[in-house]
């Protein structure tokens, strides 16, 4: 699998508090993963896990505090010129979560797309841009006459398709989709998930699918990265991770997913998100983990490959013992 994007020890800290008491919020710490071509990678985690921050780091909205992002062999931080930056934003566009806030309500739906085409596909004239906009709308399943509509005339699902169309118009190689279906009705989600799979299969686009819904991740993604408190807890081919989860947090997450066909798992975990302000070394899951040992409080577990392309950051798992928590 050709490597498209690679992050190496990506870190992002935020300074919070006032001049009297300054603290550091560790949103993302030493995250390393790769995304290949024609691949959908799901990035899953609770709120506060750092997944949205990673999206914004990859979209160059934030600058990393440490670590590197490499795209197509080139360092992203090294892209200084406007040309290089424009090229990157065309190849790595972002689709946002809220269909009601991600399109400017004042303009017609074609506005964002035509602007994108004007900025990035400078070889096209006005008529060609219009044709391209219609072509892309067709791919995402929207009728071309919808280009002239206003956002309020479209449903949430249709607006999200517009978001994907805007991304597609720039001939992307990797789309960062930040919870694109979370705010849509259940019966509409499947349509968009099918669209994402189609983009991977027919248009050859890779997608980083950020979500908190593991079931939808399983439906479209090839690989799964589970994040907890700014660290990667577990990563690997999605079926492997779901059928044989090795990190206690992954097991907790899977047991909490509502499934009408499975019996109810009486999970006693309260679901308190971690505080990642001025953290100490050690595993950040240790307070909620029933298997925590001494090392967990002092040494941050490194992400280690335990099975084929299946990595886990857990001392207990790495020691070879069987991890059965929350199961």
């Amino acid at each position: 699998m050709t490597e498209l994007l690679k992050t190496d020890n990506l870190t992002k800290h935020f300074k919070i508090g006032n001049t009297l008491s300054r603290h550091t919020l560790h949103a993302v710490d030493e995250v390393s993963f790769t995304i290949g071509e024609r691949e959908i990678v799901a990035l899953a985690g609770e709120s506060g896990s750092g997944k949205s921050t990673i999206a914004r780091l990859l979209a160059r909205i934030y600058k990393p505090t440490a670590g590197t992002i490499t795209f197509g062999g080139q360092s992203v931080a090294g892209m200084r010129s406007r040309r290089a930056q424009l090229k990157y934003s065309a190849e790595v566009p972002m689709v946002f979560q809220d269909p009601f806030a991600s399109i400017n309500p004042v303009f017609r739906v074609s506005h964002g797309m035509l602007r994108s085409l004007k900025l990035h596909r400078t070889d096209l004239n006005a008529a060609q841009r219009q044709a391209e906009a219609e072509r892309v709308f067709d791919i995402v399943g929207l009728k071309p006459d919808m280009l002239e509509r206003f956002p309020y005339e479209l449903s949430g699902g249709q607006r999200q398709r517009v978001g994907f169309a805007q991304a597609l118009a720039m001939k992307p190689r990797l789309i960062i989709a930040d919870e694109p279906v979370s705010m849509l009705d259940v019966s509409i989600r499947i349509g968009l998930l099918n669209l994402m799979a189609k983009l991977r299969d027919e248009e050859g686009v890779s997608i980083l699918y950020i979500t908190h819904d593991i079931a939808s991740a399983r439906y479209v993604a090839d690989r799964l990265i589970v994040m907890y408190a700014g660290h990667i807890a577990e990563a690997g081919p999605i079926e492997d991770v779901l059928t044989a989860p090795k990190h206690p947090y992954t097991q907790l997450l899977l047991s909490a997913v509502p499934d009408p066909k499975a019996p109810l798992a009486e999970v006693t975990d309260r679901g308190e998100p971690p505080k990642v302000i001025d953290p100490t070394p050690g595993c950040r899951f240790r307070w909620r983990c029933p298997l925590a040992i001494d090392t967990c409080s002092t040494v941050t577990p490194p992400l280690t490959e335990l099975a084929a392309r299946h990595e886990v950051a857990c001392h207990v798992a790495q020691s070879g013992a069987e991890v059965k928590a929350f199961v």
């Binding site: 609770e46 709120s47 449903s155 949430g156 699902g157 009705d185 259940v186 019966s187 509409i188 989600r189 499947i190 349509g191 998930l193 099918n194 908190h212 819904d213 593991i214 079931a215 939808s216 399983r218 439906y219 779901l242 907790l252 997450l253 899977l254 047991s255 909490a256 997913v257 509502p258 499934d259 009408p260 066909k261 499975a262 109810l264 798992a265 009486e266 999970v267 006693t268 975990d269 309260r270 679901g271 308190e272 998100p273």
Partner: protein, 324 residues
């Protein structure tokens, strides 16, 4: 019948707009027994939240109840004045809103808001206020020291649990919940649902739980009501609805949930969009999206039909032409 605590009969709610009335809730009838957990499920625009607000008598203009009754413990709540309603509110029936950040006052501590509620319905002494506040907080598993906290200082899960604690202040007979878990993550959601069920078993109150996520209530509700375009499409015992869904919409909904276990199947979802309630399609409101629609589905509006203990609004289920 003696066990019945709530009876909603023919309830209709309209939004009075410039361009005419839009019927958001159309002729909804159901009953609720003591201690029963009723799940109301549907997508956005189906009218479930409007129905909830109508039952709790919290509708604001331009929404109005235009027909039907809401009989709670023998009294019809529709048409009562605010003063008459306040006798019922919170003591016998309380509401848990969708987003605690919207429902809780951000500039008051949790304890102060509990005090407001307690003082609105009586004249408790300071010790009584503190004792009861601490008691309900412990009920939901929060250390009473957090009575001093402000909403923004608590995590999402704790905020929602404080909302439930607030709803329990007078241990009402009926607690109405409007998607209380939608802002929470999966683990917190699970913990909250277990908490609600535990409280229900301990104190015996009835629950009406509105959500868009069917799987969420699958293990907790006694009965399940599926709403579409302002109408009840299916109503029955939860297990019956999950194991033998009869209405094409219910089946479409169940099929639209990918699962994390079992074989991976290609799902279709339900094509199309919910109808504009200002001008619903003729005949059955689901016919533009229904793969089983035949001619009469476009002409006749189906009524609720009883089959095997469930109620279903589908002409083809009624005449047996759809094989279950």
């Amino acid at each position: 019948m003696a066990d019945q605590i709530l009876e909603v009969c023919g309830l209709s709610v309209d939004y009075v707009l410039d361009r005419g009335n839009v019927r958001a809730v159309d002729d909804v009838s159901f009953t609720l027994d003591h201690g029963e957990f009723l799940g109301i499920v549907g997508e956005s625009g189906c009218g479930k939240s409007t129905l909830l607000f109508a039952v709790a008598q919290l509708l604001a203009p331009p929404a109005q109840v235009t027909d039907g009754s809401v009989t709670f413990r023998g009294n019809n709540l529709v048409g009562l004045t605010d003063k008459q309603l306040s006798a019922v509110r919170w003591k016998d029936m309380s509401v848990v809103m969708q987003s605690a950040m919207n429902a809780l006052n951000p500039v008051k501590s949790i304890g102060a808001q509990f005090k407001d509620v307690l003082q609105a319905h009586g004249k408790p002494s300071k010790q009584e206020v503190h004792a009861r506040s601490a008691e309900v907080m412990r009920m939901v598993g929060i250390d009473p020291v957090h009575l001093r906290s402000y909403p923004h200082q608590l995590s999402g899960g704790m905020r929602q649990r404080s909302m439930i604690a607030m709803a329990m202040l007078f241990t009402p007979d009926l607690v109405i919940m409007d998607e209380p878990t939608s802002a929470l993550d999966v683990v917190a959601q699970r913990a909250l649902m277990l908490q609600i069920k535990e409280l229900q078993q301990q104190y015996g109150f009835a629950v009406i739980f509105v959500t868009h996520d069917m799987s969420l209530v699958s293990h907790f509700s006694d009965r399940l009501m599926v709403m579409y375009a302002g109408q009840i499409d299916e109503l029955g015992r939860t297990r019956a609805v999950f194991d033998h869904p009869r209405h094409p919409y219910t089946r479409g909904l169940l099929d639209a949930f990918p699962s994390i276990r079992g074989p991976k199947a290609a799902l279709r979802g339900i094509p199309g969009n919910p109808p504009d309630l200002g001008s619903p399609p003729p005949g059955c409101r689901f016919n533009p999206r229904c793969q089983h629609a035949v001619d009469k589905c476009f002409e006749t509006e189906p009524a609720l039909f009883g089959i095997d203990g469930s109620l279903v609004r589908c002409l083809r289920v009624a005449d047996g032409s759809i094989n279950q």
